[in-house]
């Protein structure tokens, strides 16, 4: 009985661990995520995106102004 329980527990541990180990074999930028450096990249990309949108909004406003000026 004890052996059966032990074998089942071993199997359960294996079933829980093996898929993770297999998944870890594909190399990903896990270290960069662990260090938190990925947030630097996210921040940089968001700044660029924000700049693009600010530019678009300002251009939009300029065109609106010009339209109003012309319609007067």
């Amino acid at each position: 009985m004890k052996h059966v329980v032990q074998a089942m527990m071993t199997l359960a541990v294996l079933l829980a661990v093996v898929p993770q180990v297999l998944a870890q074999e594909v190399e990903m930028a896990d270290a960069m995520r662990a260090e938190g450096k990925i947030y630097v990249i996210v921040a940089i990309i968001l700044i660029v995106l924000a700049g693009l949108f600010v530019y678009l909004f300002l251009l939009d406003r300029k065109i609106t102004k010009a339209e109003k000026l012309l319609n007067k």
């Binding site: 190399e27 990903m28 930028a29 996210v42 968001l46 678009l56 251009l59 010009a66």
Partner: protein
């Protein structure tokens, strides 16, 4: 374009660029971390197709009811769509360099997309070469229908008939290959919507600018 749509585009793309880099993605060989390019490269092509769709819609409307403004709307959409297509091509070449080995693989979808872009560049050549306004509008509306009709098989049908490295082509499964779970859809579809809205926004700015020039030159 309504203001809330512009804000929606901003919100969607801020979400996409955050979640696209931070959320879990399937671990796949060869692709590795570059699978995330799906969030940034593919929306360019989806955006292009949708914007060209808008362009051909206005071309049809022009042919039914020839208004100068409809022609200008059609041109603005085609212009924004071409910008998206060029970005899609550049990002695709970069991605291909690291996953397929060379920037230009001769992949049927890549070739097809290049030909489609050339067909649309010819649209602008055609527009630039006709002096008379009504004639230019009518010719380019008819050509626009042809260009759209050529783009669809070039990008969507021919790559499926032959072998292509792109997913969804040559017997490859479509997006299913990526989203073993559908997590990637949660970022991908908002990315398509967000970039399409930005494309419409840019097209509307171009249209308004051209209308202003029109009004000023009438004076």
């Amino acid at each position: 374009m309504k203001n809330w749509l512009k804000i929606a585009a901003v919100v969607l793309l801020v979400y996409v660029h955050t979640a696209g880099l931070l959320m879990e993605v399937p671990r796949l060989n060869i692709l590795n971390e570059t699978v995330r390019a799906l969030y940034f490269h593919v929306p360019m092509w989806f955006g292009m197709v949708l914007l060209y769709g808008g362009s051909v819609y206005f071309a049809f409307r022009y042919l039914r009811n020839p208004l100068q403004k409809t022609d200008m709307q059609s041109e603005a959409f085609a212009h924004a769509g071409t910008a998206f297509g060029i970005l899609g091509m550049l990002t695709g070449m970069l991605w291909a360099n690291y996953t397929w080995g060379t920037p230009w693989h001769g992949d049927p979808k890549q070739n097809g997309a290049a030909i489609a872009l050339l067909v649309y560049l010819a649209y602008f050549v055609l527009r630039g070469s006709v002096e008379n306004r009504e004639q230019r509008a009518r010719l380019s509306a008819v050509y626009n229908v042809f260009a759209f009709a050529a783009m669809v098989p070039l990008i969507f049908i021919i790559p499926r008939l032959t072998s292509s490295m792109h997913p969804g082509s040559g017997g490859n499964p479509g997006f299913n290959v990526y989203d073993l779970d559908s997590r990637m859809r949660l970022v991908f579809y908002p990315a398509v919507a967000g970039w399409f809205l930005v494309g419409v926004w840019i097209a509307s700015l171009r249209l308004r600018y051209k209308l202003l020039i029109e009004k000023i030159s009438e004076r």
